[in-house]
Symmetry: C2
Subunit: 272 residues, 2 copies
């Protein structure tokens, strides 16, 4: 077993701003104190337009806002961000771009997906995704899949402290390097997408790990980031598999212990 | 241990319309066939207005549409439904009411919550929920909590067949009587709400069980149904607990084996 993961960004389970102690009772009617995750609202503006109000754990508003806008196609890869203003009392973040933006029409037509939490994706994103074919030749070694899961499971996290939270990670070979958590699985992905964009981190030689299910929405966000391999301990949906095959994404699911299933892009697995 | 659950509505794991067989590879590079859940879109109209497009497993479009509209406050408890038209080729359902409806303004202002999947709740629902105090004196016996979980876990389900799915159930004493599943947890709840409404099933003497987390959204939907006790194998969020306390809902979480925690409304637990 290789050494522990070294993170650029890791969960902060000891950050008392993210959790709350709540008193209650256990199954023996004994008074207990439970540590529970806190939800905070974040209202995102793009230039002068209010886009959405999300419920998040509130740890990375900047990455969340940027990643959300990228994943909703409201911020383009070549957009120049001129200013980011966050008001932590109002829970409002404003992203300003050089390009003038107006998404009023777009905001009126959403598709609510089966993905966890945010679940809203705009129709035009499907059209865009269908045209993408991931070309990365990066391979994943059979043994890494187990090592990655193990390292993530052993990382101190809000999940281990409080439960009721989803986690996502960016992996380099067999090492998780960015690990973010949120009450909404989509938020965790969006925060990672925002971080990758702002820090200009190359995606085509990385893997993406999620604790959540491999739905169409998760596939779309992974493909939009340009990451060629998506791994989950959880299961698949048929539309997720179909989109992964269409976009040449490798989809590894039900990764538990030394077991896993590959339902798309098996050519990127190096079995020995 | 009491006998098996007798359901009014149970999951249909053998319904081949709900699943798909997909070929892939396991961890030994052996070719396998995996059974995977299918997602279908459903576009809901209320009278002449298109309200939303959801991704669902497609088993109960009528209950899903009615429950969704109820939970979004677009259908009122005393509304008279004059017609339900479902076009299964177009995946469109139209709910017609005697009352004239227009929610154009409302549709423009949503809050995306941390709940699983749909994640959109309109601001006015919070205002409504704050005024509700559940008055039901119905109690739950300590031993029932374990029996309920056990019966649900032993029920043949899509979860056991395919994974990647959430389940919800309505419980009478220690018996699950309605058990619905969906790719989106919210959809499973909405289908149950729609069923309860159309079949005029009394809520104040029932319990609600969910495989998902106890977020604010789950609390809101339970309170709107009028069910006084909410049980989950999963964890809590702080806002979920706060809303449960404000509305006098009993919140039982982390129910695994014979263990559980109660963080709100402990007066409804009968410990012996």
């Amino acid at each position: 077993m290789p050494k522990k993961a070294k993170y650029l960004v890791a969960p902060k389970p000891k950050d008392t701003k993210l959790t709350k102690l709540i008193s209650g009772y256990d199954e023996n009617n004994k008074k207990i104190v439970a540590k529970v995750i806190k939800e905070k609202s974040l209202t995102i503006f793009l230039n002068n337009q209010e886009i959405v109000t999300l419920m998040s754990i509130g740890d990375h508003p900047k990455y969340l806002a940027i990643g959300y806008l990228l994943n909703q196609n409201m911020l383009k890869k070549n957009d120049k961000i001129t200013k980011i203003e966050f008001d932590k009392d109002l829970d409002v973040i404003v992203i300003r771009t050089r390009r003038k933006t107006n998404y009023e029409k777009k905001l009126q037509k959403k598709i609510t997906t089966s993905g966890c939490a945010i679940g809203t994706v705009f129709g035009d994103i499907y059209d865009e995704i269908k045209k993408i074919k991931l070309k990365s030749l990066k391979k994943i070694k059979h043994s890494w899949i187990y090592e990655i899961s193990k390292k993530i499971n052993l990382t101190p996290s809000l999940y281990l402290e409080t439960g009721a939270i989803h986690g996502c990670a960016i992996i380099e070979n067999n090492n998780p390097i960015i690990y973010m958590e949120d009450v909404g699985r989509h938020n965790a992905v969006d925060k990672i997408a925002g971080y990758m964009f702002l820090k200009k981190i190359r995606a085509s030689n990385k893997f993406f790990y999620t604790t959540g299910r491999l739905t169409s929405e998760m596939v779309i966000k992974t493909v939009k980031m340009g990451v060629p391999i998506l791994i989950s301990r959880s299961g698949f949906t048929s539309w997720g598999v179909e989109l992964a095959r269409n976009t040449n994404l490798t989809l590894i699911g039900r990764a538990k212990g030394k077991k896993y299933l590959v339902l798309a892009g098996e050519n990127r697995i190096e079995y020995k």
